[in-house]
Subunit: 407 residues, 2 copies
């Protein structure tokens, strides 16, 4: 649905679009030279805090520490400190101590209370966090925050990303303007252990922690969890949402529905920026499954198609090879009747009743060549559930960047 | 376990190593010019027949027809007819008629009875089978069979494979020599819709259909189902086993155990030939999981590691990047305690207690560079179950071959 029909306007801003938030980045020298690699996002009062973490059993130290912090605080926080260049993952008990120290250093430098600082890391897996560099970066970021913040937070979280990823929008709640903005990083789960996907979303809406958490979970399920570059789920994947309560408070069901849609819009835009920036990506693939038995089945099917290497290479090669899409659908585990399957490449129907529709090969090639994202739509005709999944084509550049060097 | 300790000897032969079988291939001109593309494998009497088929819901027409044929016959057959170049998949009711006609043409030309011929196809998905070419190929193959057969059957089943894939061995049952041999095709499920993996295994052992079926299922579960090039399971994947009963009959538990091991050896060798010939493959990866909770968990873990694009590109780049292996283990769904995980690259331990072991990076690189297959061993230390999975590295050549043309 277009934003404006929902009364929403995108604004050129990021994680500090919402009232009550400051952010800064500074260079600590963790792994990269001469660029910010430690960032702090600060709310000027207690914020409702929601988070969705990786399901990887090798959860990184900061993930383990944050889960504990949020459980104790009941979903309230003041700040997040994040470093790039080292994921603090597969680092054992020493890693847990380091993650806690990152939080403590930030707490003390900002004069906050215990348990008010969340922590995130992204970068190489398996190496101990260089705490001197982290300390230097935290010191620099705190100095910047004391001067009102700088614009380097979205840069400080990047690893092999080629662009900053930010987005914000505003909308109206009971006559008051509410903003949601955020930033994220991730070159598509494809970097050499740059574990991997971090997103920070803020809002000035007033919303209870438990409701923020539930709303975030739904939004992430439809956005960040519906993208894939290579299917590798990292040890550090985290999406944070912080709400300052400086603008309108979400009280009615209607306001909550609007807030949920706005949050989903921000998450979707940030997620798509990750797919577009995936290493080696030349095209985004949008897989839409319609008429599935239920939501779970729709997502199973869309994910299998989006993650199929044969589909990804076909799109790269401008080959309208619908057989590969049906093969992936067939092994997805989704429930359907082969004889009722339909498929479209953009607006051109290429499959009807499970077999080739009447179309000209040249027309399909033209549709594919001109499109990015490339929209592949599959109709199952067994129910009412839909799902959309975004992935990227698979290119020689992906292979090169992931084989020839470790960043 | 080495073959000779089990009293088995590999012999330079294939699907006609076992007594009672003849085979032939001939050129029908289905898609390729001047090479055999139709093959017939014939037993000189009724053979016990077992088969394992794809789980893809878009099962190809020959798979649907064979399931029906074997159900009706109770697992007895005389011949298999197979064509390359066209998979007869996603072809609807017309495809079913064509598959049945392929069987009927062969039945009549060989003077067999109804329901004695199985059928298989491999090649492009979605196009109707060119029956004139199929008829020509069947005619040619039957003529060759009448002259005693030729050696072209293993060639007639190939699509983008670069080599014939054959293997046979013999062993002793109660003082009598029993042989199991076979051939297969598959450039690793990676060809442009060359749907995909076919294997034909024969033996002269005497064995009841239901026992052959069970034994085949176990062997396939540990071999053909434990390989992957790109995780795409095709619409046509089929493994057939035919037993002529010309040599010793399997009667005791001990004989059956030996027969099962021999069948598994043949299936493993054929499966590995597929991985080695995977398009773009330069190295085979052997993932061994030890000490898992149960067999299902061991396979989950081994498959996730073997199929991880990051692991596959790391091996291609000779990067001993154990973090990628642990990340894949972490999202595999297998049950384990991160703090007890160990890992070896060949004989070098690189992870102990879930974190980096004490080793020199250069040693790990040397181990990786010198090895093919590359053995990656993961110890979970939570149970007694083991699994082995074979995959290949991911290279620019894979991407090229699957994007720039449709064979």
């Amino acid at each position: 649905m277009p934003l404006d029909t929902l009364g929403m306007t995108s604004i050129h801003d990021g994680p500090t679009a919402a009232q009550g938030f400051r952010a800064a980045g500074a260079a600590g020298g963790i792994r990269y030279e001469g660029r910010p690699d430690v960032g702090i996002l600060l709310c000027d009062g207690p914020a409702s805090a929601g988070a969705v973490f990786t399901q990887n059993r090798f959860a990184a130290a900061p993930v383990i520490v944050d889960r504990e912090t949020l459980r104790k605080s009941g979903g309230v926080a003041r700040a997040v400190v994040v470093n790039a260049g080292n994921a603090n993952a597969c680092t054992g008990d020493g890693g847990l101590l380091d993650a806690r120290e990152m939080a403590t250093l930030t707490t003390e430098a900002l004069g906050l209370g215990a348990g008010e600082v969340l922590v995130a890391s992204t970068g190489v897996v398996g190496d101990a966090l260089p705490m001197d560099a982290v300390r230097r970066g935290i010191g620099g970021a705190v100095e910047e925050l004391e001067r009102g913040g700088n614009s380097e937070f979205p840069s400080a979280i990047l690893t092999t990303d080629t662009v900053r990823k930010e987005y914000a929008l505003e909308f109206d709640v009971g006559g008051e303007t509410v903003r949601i903005g955020g930033c994220c990083k991730g070159a598509g789960m494809i970097s050499p252990n740059m574990a991997t996907m971090l997103a920070f979303v803020t809002t000035d809406a007033g919303i209870a922690p438990s409701i923020l958490e539930t709303t975030l979970r739904t939004a992430v399920g439809r956005t960040f969890n519906c993208i894939s570059i290579d299917g590798d789920q990292s040890t550090n994947d985290t999406v944070f949402a912080l709400a300052s309560g400086r603008a309108a408070t979400i009280t009615t069901e209607h306001d909550l529905a609007v807030f949920g849609l706005a949050l989903e819009s921000v998450c979707r835009e940030l997620a798509l920026q990750i797919v577009r920036d995936g290493e080696g990506t030349t095209r985004v693939i949008e897989v839409r499954v319609r008429g599935a038995k239920d939501d779970a089945d729709a997502r199973l099917a869309a994910r299998a198609i989006g993650e199929s290497l044969l589909v990804k290479t076909a799109v790269y090669g401008n080959d309208p090879n619908w057989g590969r899409v049906l093969v992936a659908l067939g092994y997805s585990g989704a429930d359907f009747d082969p004889g009722r399957v339909a498929m479209w490449i953009e607006d051109l129907q290429v499959v009807r009743g499970g077999i080739r529709a009447d179309y000209a090969e040249g027309d399909a090639e033209t549709r594919l060549r001109d499109a990015s994202p490339v929209r592949l739509t599959v109709g199952l005709d067994v129910g009412d559930a839909d799902a959309t999944f975004w992935s990227s084509d698979l290119t020689e550049a992906y292979v090169r960047e992931n084989s020839v060097y470790r960043t």
